[in-house]
């Protein structure tokens, strides 16, 4: 399954967000959408493509932990 790893936004400056993946931090550009600190997002090609709704974050992380 195509299981991408969500990261948590820890900083936003203009349209650039800093995203924490636990083991590393990466920058990604916000093209469209409202994002705030602590939101979980999916990044591809250095842009944020989707926000993981809060109530789905745990399910997503469990899936990652248990493998696919």
């Amino acid at each position: 399954m195509c299981l991408a790893i969500p990261g948590k936004i820890i900083e936003i400056k203009n349209d650039i967000a800093l995203i924490d993946y636990g083991s590393e931090k990466r920058q990604a550009k916000i093209i469209i959408g409202d994002f705030k600190i602590n939101d979980y997002v999916i990044v591809q090609g250095k842009i944020i493509i989707e926000k993981v709704p809060e109530e789905q974050v745990q399910g997503w992380l469990n899936l990652l932990k248990n493998g696919t």
Binding site: I31, G45, I47, I49, P53, Q56, L63
Partner: protein, 157 residues
Amino acid sequence: MEPEVLFLKYAFPCAFIIKQRAEISDFEHQILEDAAINNKVLERKFLEKIFFRAFERIEKLAKELNKDKWDYEVIKEYFTDRHNSIIDEGMYSYAKAPESLKNLCKVHKAEIIQIKDDSLIVKYNKEKLRPVIKSLVKNVKIGDFVTIHYGYAVEKL
């Protein structure tokens, strides 16, 4: 378009996950990206090895249709139809997957509403917006329809 190119355009958006799983190297990921962007035909064996999960299902579809797994129509039907049904029916580990993940995994038909540098903002499922990377599609304009998979526009319709 050759079937190898069509396959790779649809499959490449998932390659970053295969890289995160350390099943392919950065270098292999670059080869895939370059081929997907520039319509290069890669070895079938190479693609089948990297995307073995997709090929298990493509082979099954090909048998049902009594066609070769590399038949253009088989590849096309897999990505534009079968792949979404598998996700909707909760097969494999999709049963436990959250909606937002399933939505990214599915291939959607989308309308381009804005072009921003290297990205497109597209509308799909009537009202949802998503930014996608433009690099796999050439010569697109506002109002065109494309298919999208994860963070990429895949094919102009």
